[in-house]
Subunit: 275 residues, 4 copies
């Protein structure tokens, strides 16, 4: 864990990484799902067969007005069009229905970044021009192509425990930088290996910051997150997707010359899913 500072990646670091880690054309010129291709049927079947206790957990936040939601996106709006006392639908036999609508930013609460979400130099994943995302939606790389494919083996690495030298129940780190070396250290401490097609979950503990403050600004400002050198680690381990309990997966704003370099290389060049 490095101390937070005004560090620079340097002028060529991003372009070099983009070249070194690019998965463009790896799964064909028409591919729209990137690293989800690494979750093969065999790996998914093996993951299923490895299930132990069968306890199911939702990793989602409640999708409600408490967010978190990055400004200027607002919290979801929920509207009831039929309630337990006012139902315009009365059917033969006495049944009534409740009904509702939602208005929401698709990048609020717990969500995956689609491969059309981030672009630079006029291109997004697999070399598709950014201009293919118009007012009518994403003509290519839309998140709908991932439907049904985001299932497989997941590995949870615990940064809070690492930051407390293995002691459970310790302090949640603030603005902790999680480097590739930290990922290795967590794997070693937990005696677990991350391999091809795995979904990596990193516990930063930063959601506690949001729960205390209720403020997205605090949440993003105080979160821990991945360093840029994790890009190589994720590429080498052939990780299919990465999610974390923080605001932006990576430690946004750590470098002075690139605000979210991991998003740039991961989503656009590697086709890697961030959640």
């Amino acid at each position: 864990m490095a101390v937070l500072g005004e560090k620079q990646l340097g002028p060529d670091a991003l372009a070099d990484a983009a070249r070194r880690l690019s998965n463009w054309d790896r799964w064909g010129a028409d591919d729209q799902v990137g690293t989800l291709n690494l979750i093969t049927s065999e790996r998914r079947a093996a993951a299923a067969r490895s299930v132990g206790t069968g306890v199911a957990l939702s990793l989602s936040l409640p999708l409600d007005a408490t967010g978190p939601s990055a400004p200027p996106r607002g919290a979801p709006l929920h509207f009831m069009t039929a309630t337990g006392t006012d139902s315009p639908l009365k059917l033969a036999g006495g049944a009534s229905f409740t009904d509702d609508y939602v208005v929401m930013a698709l990048q609020c609460s717990t969500q995956w970044d689609g491969l059309a979400h981030v672009y630079y130099d006029g291109h997004m994943w697999n070399g598709v021009p950014a201009a293919e995302v118009t007012a009518a939606g994403a003509a290519r790389n839309g998140i709908e192509h991932a439907a049904g494919r985001m299932s497989g083996r997941a590995v949870l690495l615990d940064f809070v425990r690492l930051a407390n030298a293995g002691r459970p129940g310790g302090e949640v780190p603030r603005r902790g930088l999680i480097t590739a070396a930290d990922l290795d250290a967590m794997c070693a401490a937990q005696d677990v290996q991350v391999g091809p097609g795995d979904i990596l979950l990193v516990r930063t503990g930063s959601m506690a910051v949001y729960r205390e403050s209720g403020s997205w600004r605090e949440f993003r400002g105080q979160q821990s997150g991945l360093a840029f050198d994790c890009a190589d680690w994720l590429y080498e381990h052939e990780v299919a997707a990465v999610a974390a309990d923080n605001a932006t997966v990576e430690l946004a704003g750590y470098y002075s010359d690139y605000f979210v370099p991991l998003h740039m290389v991961a989503i656009r060049d590697m086709g890697l899913w961030l959640g």
Copy 2:
């Protein structure tokens, strides 16, 4: 398969079934998820371990403007707030983002009916007053309580094949009534058993009607669906959830005295999930 007619359930049929099949208090007075309790961790683990090829399929329709969506609910509205050419978000290092919102009826496209969706005689699942669903939402029995719990073993029964006497590629039945005896016949023909905690999927073929006509009216009018006597079958087999590729799971409007009796007893009295 019965011929479609002006059949009546009769004055006591619904109340009798509600009493006979009630699961109120079975999982405690505070339970809000009903038959999802039947998917125990052991059953979920066993389901996972039984995975064969590991091929993943999405059973969802695209969530887009083509619906289907029951009037007066409209198709989802999708709005881009940042595109590949117009992005108000320009971050250090050159990254741009796309962003979007959705406005949609929560009972459109492929969806599960929450246990607060149907009520009669002033009550919904587990004896909760319907008035607990107000303009502010469902204070109890909201679908958020099901988060993470809808995973387990699923069995697909093929009504199209049954209706064509086992021959694949036959005609899609129109307004076919799927009785409890038909469920048994499909299990026998497919050499499969439905047991406690299973999620039952019924292929009616009726989505083809929608694809041809693009009309919800045609879709609902021509669909095949479950008969009311399936309620007992589902109760006895301890099914956790039922979904079908039709408009309303059951054959809505088959009986003259109750428009959707299976919804009434299944959702309110059994706490059974319909999808």
Copy 3:
């Protein structure tokens, strides 16, 4: 102008005023527009003929994301569905179109309170049960009945000038209570009379508080507004509508026993329009 305190209206003040000032049935049992009936065609024609310079001014705030909007209502959301670069509509001859949607709370920015907006004791304007406003909308007293009728003579009374003893450019009063006597004083100072069917506009200057703070809480907390005794004054002068450049027209929260007594009597009992 009274000093702000923990004043009470007292147990019978509201009921007495409601009885004394009630306009129920004055324009028939079916009336849904209340005091707009006071703007007769003759008065409207006279108002038009009295126009001097013909300068047109909009009294509306911009309807945009800067509000103000009382929580939990959010600011309007504006969505472009076709832009100057992305237009799905290309017509013969080369014309393209821009297009957009809005999602907004109907009680945000500058707005009139419809007669179905406030109720107490289970009834709204003209004795209509409050239950007629359901999840499907207002079956009676909806604001649509006012379409085209809100035009006539308006009189602007300047409370900022009064509070500064007639000197222009003075301080904007904070939490100034505007009493019936103040209304008379402003009429006298400005040499203007308020009569039947007039639309009364009161300049409180409080919008400046919002402009400085950007906070609804500050806006409402520091606004100046009408005292409850204005109800009688407005009734006696047969005013058709009242609007002010503050958060809630009246000084909400001035009395300890009624938060918005003027809203209660004006909207429900007098059928008076507040803007």
Copy 4:
């Protein structure tokens, strides 16, 4: 009235008209309201003073789910967030509130086309690049600049009466082409003159088509509307705005080479308001 056919405007007609009738720079390079500049304070005052009976009429359709609304735009969605029985807002003294939201296409029901609504050859009104309308809205020529300025003298010309040779109560014409000569004929028949700054209202009767069919397709297909030669007439008479009770003001689709040539020249080149 010409017979409807496959008439062509010809290759230079639109460019010639755009040049001949252009108002670009007439009110300065920064102007964003076009022909509304023609409604001077003097003309507005004169209009007000000419008021006779003072009867007020709303020319708006109800803003509700019955439209009309041009596909793919949908009808407005109206959501109640507090009703007469379910109000989350209970204030001291017993007041309750109803509250609601709307989601709607801004080009539905009765509406004015803003000067940013139509563009061709990459430019909109006053030579502003169309690219100034982005996913964030119209940076220039937005309709907000017209706030408060759309008031003045209006003249109603009755095409239904003209088509029935002056007899009231006749048939509503279908796909009637309203030419500049027809405008003159209506002025003569009604003994009225249209002059600088006037708002022209044309009664086509076509709303009856919509009321009968409820179909936008029928409404647009069967409407009567203005011919392209009206552009010169409107320019010469210095009309400030034109509105009609039809789908698109002009007879869209009458010419084979330009679908809406009057929109193109009126909105982009003349800065003329169509409603």
